[in-house]
Symmetry: C2
Subunit: 162 residues, 2 copies
């Protein structure tokens, strides 16, 4: 598995699983009605942000991450990031590798911390992964996510210094 900067050509491989994950409405605060163009504009970052892909030896895109300042101006020294792994390739460390890569990138880019704004409380795989990578839950915004199965659940705000 290799992690590299995404190019425009990668979007075609990202979009099918991106759409599938967002349509499930279980892990992301994105409108499932977003068009492909809106989704691409949102995910494919320009500097100072960055979008990365994890690819296997054959070049297949296994997952993707975007990362950028969480706030602007006087808050721009804290990064944030978002991650999606193609469900067909889940459970093989793709998310962990993308997370470690995002932390390395943020450190290299001079950020002082990384913050996640909206980790769905019931997404235990993600919550456990981020904890194992040194993040802690600063707060849980109560009932901030309407889950199709669990109803209103919390959104964790997670943070770690770099």
């Amino acid at each position: 598995m290799l992690i590299r900067d995404a190019t425009e050509l990668d979007w075609a491989a990202i979009w099918p699983f991106w759409r599938s994950i967002v349509s499930a409405c279980e892990t992301y605060c994105y409108d499932p009605e977003l068009t492909e163009g809106q989704a691409s504009a949102l995910w494919m970052q320009q500097p100072p942000g960055r979008t990365a892909v994890a690819v296997d030896d054959g070049g297949t895109v296994l997952g993707t991450a975007k990362m950028h300042p969480n706030q602007g101006g006087p808050g721009a020294h804290v990064a944030t990031a978002s991650f999606m792994v193609d469900p067909r390739y889940g459970g093989h460390g793709v998310g962990r590798a993308l997370g470690q890569d995002a932390l390395s990138w943020a450190r290299s880019a001079g950020y002082r911390a990384m913050q996640f704004n909206a980790v769905v409380q019931t997404n235990s795989g993600a919550v456990g992964l981020w904890r194992s990578l040194g993040f802690e839950v600063l707060a849980t915004v109560p009932e901030a996510f309407q889950h199709p199965v669990h109803g209103y659940v919390g959104l964790h705000i997670m943070h770690r210094y770099l």
Copy 2:
């Protein structure tokens, strides 16, 4: 004092104090290098968001607020809002009136809660005002704001149900 929906024509009155507040880098996570066009696009909301102005009897704009969903999709039932009062008219309840109006609007629009993502810890006037309007600090993101006088200070995440 009247609070009403802002129109495009109000922007000319907002921009001087908006720029002044953002340039001070003491209370907002906006890049002080934003152009007027970028600032206007950011502040003057389209539905489902809303931008309001507080005006005095003579029609002078005293302050402004923007409000919109804090997240999309399954998180769109929580509102957020931002407020700026022209420093020449501070200390006369303009911020409080704008806050009460935003809460009323959010209730009417069917939101379940309001969340502020980045209230600068040293902005004690704002923190006290939001507490008095029923908000609580869910967490303080440590050192997330670089203050020109106080150095790295925290950003409060504040929340209340509606």
